[in-house]
């Protein structure tokens, strides 16, 4: 029953309270860029219906982990298994939001056209959009408060609107697994609140959400589980267990304690005084 479930319906394991949820298992994952090893022997197991935060300092390997899961980077070692199969085989079940979308902002594409791209895996490369697809696109637009801007060319948006458009595309995909690399970046407060709410609901309906996140304060509010990572796995588990000051200190190094600075003087520029070394 687990295998042939249509991934675009709310996950059955969630709503029927089935104890055996779909499993994502990462084991011994190592990814390097040439001689630089960005991730080393990271393992974790989680299930759909969860909201997992990836937390760690800049350069910790969060995006690298996401890219490896999305099939954009080939791991040096290790396995990523989704429902017992290599994740790479299940591209249609995954939605991926890049940290920094490198696109041609002059591309003749409207916001609606962008969000429609999220439906391609479901619609297939051939078929016409059904009313169902159009509805999904409409709803994603509305959720991200973009309905008014649907006809806008994507380059004619503000930074936060662009981010929202890409989030909307990931939503429109109605995927089983959502890989969101800093989805809150650049969003205004209302959008942040909406997205928080939405992620919770998506998890409730049985999606697995994995998101890189920098705002430590809001982690407990948004996420169920957290992976503290800094090249290696520092800790993984439910937020209340893992998100302790000790673990955070281990992850970020000694809490940043900027040396007190001398008052500005005239001879040397204040702007470039070393504040941490």
């Amino acid at each position: 029953m687990t295998r042939d479930l249509d991934p675009y319906q709310p996950c059955a394991a969630a709503s029927c309270g089935h104890p055996q949820r779909h499993e994502l298992a990462i084991s011994g994952l190592t990814v390097s860029y040439g001689s630089l090893t960005a991730l080393e022997e990271v393992s974790l197991t989680t299930h759909c219906g969860r909201c997992v935060a990836l937390v760690g300092p800049n350069g910790a390997g969060k995006s690298t982990l996401m890219k490896a899961m999305a099939g954009l980077l080939r791991p040096t070692r290790g396995m990523i298994a989704w429902r017992g199969q290599p994740l790479a085989r299940a591209t249609a079940e995954i939605a991926y939001l890049a940290q920094r979308s490198e696109v041609d902002w002059q591309f003749p594409l409207t916001v609606r056209g962008l969000v429609e791209m999220g439906r391609y895996p479901q619609v297939g490369w051939w078929r016409r959009f059904s009313a169902r697809d159009d509805a999904a696109v409409d709803q994603a637009l509305e959720t991200m408060r973009l309905s008014d801007l649907a006809g806008r060319q994507i380059g004619a948006l503000s930074g936060g609107q662009q981010q929202r458009a890409f989030v909307a595309r990931a939503l429109a995909q109605e995927a089983h697994v959502l890989l969101l690399d800093e989805p809150f970046g650049g969003l205004d407060r209302p959008s942040q609140e909406l997205l928080t709410e939405l992620l919770g609901m998506l998890a409730l309906s049985g999606r697995l959400i994995i998101a890189a996140h920098h705002d430590l304060d809001s982690v407990p509010e948004i996420f169920d589980e957290v992976l503290l990572v800094n090249r290696r796995r520092i800790a993984f588990g439910p937020v209340d267990e893992v998100f302790t000051p000790d673990n955070l200190a281990a992850c970020f190094g000694t809490p940043a304690q900027p040396a007190p600075l001398p008052p500005p003087d005239r001879d040397r520029p204040a702007g470039v005084r070393p504040s941490a070394s």
């Binding site: 591209t91 890049a98 490198e102 409207t110 490369w125 806008r152």
Partner: protein, 292 residues
């Protein structure tokens, strides 16, 4: 009416008309990919790679349209797909890789021709003329266009996705690398087939200008394809009649007609036209679009 019917009595105009419609539509449709892929000049350079290819083809298999076609195709594929490989496996952009490969191929061609003489002035193969096309040309253009159109219409969604955002395409399961090669291969096929029929200059013009014109008028990606095809076919047919009545070269007339349409769009586009821009980024390169 006389104006329209009179030219059609000439058999060479009838055939040219068929080629205009076919090649104009197919190349115009494909020009959307060329414009989106920003590979207008790559197409131009590839047409130069054909020279050494034709030479080697004729050298190996003797002087015949088929050996020239085969040589040109193989050379263009080697250089075109080779440049993709170099670009993929280094930091260089494809245009740089292509420039290096095609000058090298050209230089190699000169050396080969030097040691093994062919008594053909190769460049003649590059100058075709639509009035001059044979039935074989017509057939080739038809089949190649049909294959390209069907393939690209089928693959339109993944291709657009890939052109817009390769990473997203990859994560959605599009075989990005393969698709890139297929796209370039089709482009080369169309280029080589229309070269024989209509000549180098016309092929290049038809493969860029139509969609570039539409690009100025719309934000809908789909419109680029059909619009490009229509402008390509319509412009070519109009120009053919003009060229007949003013007795000027058909190829030049088609290029200039298409360029004229482009110029009109550039001046007057309601969205992105020159006359419409008010506030704009002061920086160079692609000023931002406007209007809601």
């Amino acid at each position: 009416m006389h104006w329209l019917i009179d030219p059609l009595q000439h058999p060479h105009i009838q055939r040219a008309l068929a080629i205009c419609v076919l090649a104009g539509f197919a190349n115009g449709y494909l020009s959307a990919f060329v414009v989106l892929r920003k590979s207008a000049l790559q197409v131009g350079s590839l047409s130069h790679t054909l020279l050494p290819g034709i030479a080697v083809g004729i050298l190996l298999f003797g002087l015949s349209p088929l050996s020239a076609f085969a040589g040109a195709l193989v050379a263009a594929l080697l250089v075109g797909l080779g440049s993709l490989t170099v670009a993929r496996s280094s930091r260089l952009g494809q245009e740089t890789a292509l420039a290096i490969l095609f000058t090298a191929a050209f230089a190699g061609g000169i050396l080969i021709l030097d040691f093994a003489p062919v008594d053909v002035d190769i460049e003649h193969y590059l100058f075709g003329n639509i009035l001059f096309a044979t039935d074989d040309d017509l057939r080739t253009v038809f089949w190649v266009s049909a294959i390209a159109l069907v393939t690209l219409t089928a693959l339109r969604r993944p291709v657009i996705l890939m052109l817009f955002e390769p990473a997203a395409a990859q994560s959605l399961g599009v075989p990005v690398r393969l698709l890139n090669y297929v796209l370039l291969g089709l482009l080369i096929l169309v280029l080589v087939s229309s070269l024989q029929a209509v000549g180098c200059l016309l092929a290049l013009g038809l493969l860029v200008t139509p969609a570039a014109t539409v690009y100025l008028l719309t934000d809908r990606t789909e419109a680029l394809f059909w619009g490009g095809g229509l402008i390509g076919a319509g412009g070519a047919v109009t120009a053919l009649f003009l060229s007949h009545h003013f007795d000027i070269g058909a190829g030049a007339a088609i290029i200039l007609t298409l360029a004229g349409l482009f110029f009109l769009a550039w001046m007057a586009s309601p969205r992105y036209g020159l006359l419409r821009r008010r506030a704009m980024l002061v920086t160079a390169g692609g000023a931002p679009p406007l209007r809601d």
